[in-house]
């Protein structure tokens, strides 16, 4: 049970690297913590190797806000019901079938019992946040967000006697036949070789390795912003795939959304999102429009804009709105660039003045009369414009004008390790006897493409628990 007692045991200097651990968990995010807690509860002597310093522990999990949870009837903060069938259909829609049905259904079915398990281990939930009502039925929100969840799990793990090392970067897992025989970790500038009985890898994807992204995606990727932790560089993933373990998921693809161009290179997290595209005109650096801004409600179009912007020169877009729309979307973390004329705005955004004026004039002339409704598809479309704007098309004509830059923000990568239903990692000729994987590092099996809000944490929780339990069972034999 979660307890408020502060446990000093797990401070770095107390950990004995020569000790014989039953289970070593690589990574320190949600999946790793669920695995470590489950292993410790099954009686295993467990060590977490977290590559990040304590202040940044928790990987991308610290940026999350909810997990997607099946339920038959209203349950705690979740309204109404969300059946296995509907959940699975939602998944099929976003992945267009690129999923492993067995693993997907296992994750979905287990999500319901995860809720109580999470509460028991210190996580607290809150009703869906203001501005996210559409998720109140399907997604349970963590009180305080993902970092509060991560904090609670670290406390629980440490109270269970799990040891934690921060700034412990795993560089290599030595495979001999069907076994992992040792782990190489760099800690405080020194190399150590550890030989636990069983290993769980849960070190996330490779999105923070921009060179790797550029290899996979092309040089444009150098201009991408990474929404989450700089510590998920795919070192362990690359190492294992290089040792002939089975991989899944498209190695060239990543999940990317359009975010505020002023966001930091790493770790900008949730606040850098911009919800104003549907009420705007979006141009590239040449001042030209390139896609229908009003195709659908924003949550459904959020993700494609990452790719759209990535395809523009210098991987940048510019959102232009006028004062009519300023209060129609969630406040942005940085204030918009403001100007009294379009000319002045073009100057401030470094856009070609004449072209921007022409684009906006052309757009304004194509707008038609009709009823504007910000929260539903209102059919207020342009006429005779390419590309069209199919909803919320109101002329940009009421100063002051406002602008934001848009850049591609990478959430995660799809490439992962192939696992079976016990989260065991698969080699070409069969399972690796003492290696399990959980979270982003194996999510490609279930999320071959696209994304379903809150499913990342569901996958990490479900498979983290399984992996920890299985690893502990193996270690005790």
């Amino acid at each position: 049970m979660y307890s408020a007692v502060y446990n000093q045991e797990a401070d770095n200097n107390m950990v004995d690297l020569r000790a014989n651990y039953d289970v070593i968990v690589v990574g320190g995010g949600n999946a790793a913590l669920c695995a470590a807690i489950s292993a410790a509860e099954a009686g295993a002597r467990t060590l977490i190797l977290e590559g990040a310093p304590k202040a940044y522990r928790g990987g991308n999990s610290r940026h999350t806000r909810n997990f997607r949870c099946m339920h038959g009837e209203p349950m705690a903060v979740l309204t109404d019901s969300y059946s296995e069938q509907e959940y699975f259909e939602d998944l099929m829609k976003v992945t267009q079938g690129k999923t492993d049905e067995n693993l997907a259904k296992l994750a979905i079915r287990s999500s319901e019992e995860c809720y109580a398990w999470m509460v028991e281990h210190g996580v607290r939930f809150q009703p869906s946040l203001s501005g996210t009502l559409s998720l109140s039925r399907t997604n349970a929100f963590f009180m305080g967000g993902g970092k509060a969840l991560v904090n609670a799990y670290y406390r629980t793990a440490q109270n269970l006697g799990v040891d934690v090392l921060y700034e412990a970067q795993v560089t290599h897992l030595e495979r001999e036949g069907d076994r992992i025989v040792s782990i190489d970790v760099t800690y405080q500038g020194e190399q150590h070789r550890l030989s636990p009985r069983a290993v769980v890898v849960s070190s996330g994807g490779f999105q923070a390795d921009v060179d790797w992204l550029a290899d996979a995606w092309g040089p444009a990727a150098k201009n991408f912003l990474i929404r989450g932790t700089p510590y998920n560089r795919g070192v362990v993933l690359k190492d294992l795939i290089g040792q002939e373990l089975e991989s899944v998921g498209d190695p060239t693809q990543c999940h990317a959304v359009a975010i505020d161009g002023r966001a930091p290179k790493f770790d900008g997290g949730i606040v850098t999102r911009l919800d104003c595209v549907p009420f705007s005109v979006v141009v590239n650096k040449e001042g030209q429009r390139f896609y229908d801004e009003g195709e659908d409600v924003w949550p459904k179009r959020y993700a494609i804009w990452g790719r759209l912007v990535a395809a523009q020169p210098d991987q940048v877009g510019y959102v232009i709105i006028d004062s009519k729309s300023l209060e129609l979307f969630m406040p942005s973390v940085f204030p918009p660039i403001k100007a009294d004329t379009l000319e002045e705005l073009a100057g401030k955004l470094d856009l070609p003045t004449v072209q921007l004026q022409e684009t906006i004039d052309g757009f304004n002339q194509a707008c038609t009369e009709g009823h504007f409704h910000p929260t539903e598809l209102d059919g207020l479309a342009t006429q005779g414009l390419t590309p069209p704007k199919s909803n919320w098309a109101r002329p940009i004509d009421t100063p002051p004008y406002y602008g934001y830059t848009l850049r591609t923000g990478v959430t995660f990568t799809y490439l992962g390790l192939k696992v079976d239903e016990s989260a065991q990692v698969q080699g070409r000729t069969g399972p690796i006897e003492n290696l399990w994987a959980a979270g982003e590092i194996m999510a490609g099996s279930i999320l071959g493409q696209g994304y379903l809000a809150g499913f990342g944490m569901t996958i990490g929780t479900v498979f983290g628990r399984i992996a920890g339990r299985e690893a502990a069972r193996y270690a005790s034999n």
Binding site: A4, V5, S130, M143, G144, G145, R155, P331
Partner: protein, 359 residues
């Protein structure tokens, strides 16, 4: 509206910067009253920021939960940013501001003031004409005490009311309805904003571990104080209204209130002081740590010397104890507008205002 200008704009500006990040994030929405109040707005005037600062109970939940604390470049530390604005909003709304600043920030000054007040009482007791009253009234007559303490209580209260009026203007408060007050007292009675929203309490003495200790000790302090206050009020009523003269027996209302209140207040303040030693000073306004600690200990001295006075009344210590107790009470009264004591008044006002905004 001079008061607003007196508040350090930098503190307000820094709090505003952070609040705007929170407004884009919203993860902490359920911890306390601050976040719903933030999320109902898009722009924040100086008055808004001061109101938010007084709504904040420094539970620190939003610090430990925040993915943007240093070394992240956003550098979030909302409990600290709001504590600094809150402190300055108290000092700037109090006249004379210089005295407020002195006693808020300097624990040494506050303690010296208490010592002086006690010395004053030693002297007063010596020169006071001995009356025929019983117990300690034989040392100082009831009338002499009333002559000293009535103005020492009423004048500071008037000053506080003046500051509250200024604060109310700054935050744009409207006329107060009964339901606003009821809502605010409902929150105070349970100290809801120190519950963490989930009831596990706040993050104070052991980093991100939730605990209700601070909340419990605070309520012991607060209810203890109110009981002591009730004891004095009842005694005054009995004296003037019913012509029942002190001293009262153990099973009288003044004694029952006073002793239980004194015990609660002693335990509560001791607890608060010990937690305060463990907590991270960087998550509040570090400039006033000393002044706050001295204030907590002053309350402890008031209650403990009061209890001692009751239990040791038959001993030779009576004289010294009486001087100490009355001196501490006098200092406490006089310092009310210039010390941490104003937190209750400003927070009450902020909670009432919050009820108005919710409606």
């Amino acid at each position: 509206m001079q008061a607003i200008e007196l508040v350090n704009v930098d503190a307000i500006g820094e709090a505003r910067r952070q609040i705007e990040i929170c407004n884009a994030c919203r993860y902490c929405e359920s911890y306390c009253a601050v976040f719903p109040a933030v999320h109902s707005k898009r722009a924040f005037s100086d008055g808004d920021i001061q109101q938010l600062s007084n709504l904040c109970h420094n539970c620190r939940g939003c610090y430990y939960a925040c993915q943007y604390t240093a070394p992240h470049e956003f550098g979030l530390n909302l409990p600290k940013a709001l504590a600094e604005v809150r402190q300055e909003s108290w000092e700037s709304h109090t006249q004379p501001g210089g005295i407020a600043k002195l006693f808020h920030r300097s624990g040494v000054s506050l303690s010296l003031f208490v010592v002086l007040a006690a010395a004053l009482l030693v002297w007063l007791i010596q020169i006071a004409p001995k009356s025929s009253g019983e117990g300690f009234y034989s040392l100082m007559s009831h009338n002499a005490m009333v002559m000293l303490f009535a103005p020492a209580f009423i004048l500071p209260i008037l000053l506080i009311l003046l500051s509250l009026r200024g604060y109310w203007r700054t935050i744009g408060g409207e006329s107060i309805r009964w339901r606003h007050v009821a809502g605010a007292f409902g929150s105070i009675a349970k100290m809801k904003n120190l519950s963490g929203g989930h009831g596990d309490g706040c993050n104070f003495e052991a980093e991100d571990a939730f605990s209700n200790r601070r909340r419990l000790y605070h309520q012991a302090t607060m209810y203890g104080f109110l009981l002591c206050f009730a004891a004095t009020s009842v005694a005054t009523l009995m004296h003037y209204g019913l012509d029942m003269q002190a001293p009262y027996g153990f099973f009288s209302l003044p004694k029952l209130f006073g002793i239980s209140g004194g015990l609660l207040l002693s335990i509560g303040t001791l607890g608060l002081a010990s937690l305060k030693l463990k907590a991270d000073r960087g998550l509040a306004d570090a400039r006033v740590w000393g002044g706050e600690m001295a204030f907590v200990l002053l309350l402890f001295v008031v209650s403990t010397s009061g209890l001692a006075l009751y239990f040791l009344r038959e001993t030779s210590l009576l004289n010294e104890l009486l001087a100490l107790h009355l001196g501490a009470v006098l200092a406490f009264f006089l310092l009310m507008p210039f010390s941490k004591m104003v937190h209750g008044f400003f927070r009450l006002a902020a909670l009432i205002r919050d009820e108005q905004c919710k409606a």
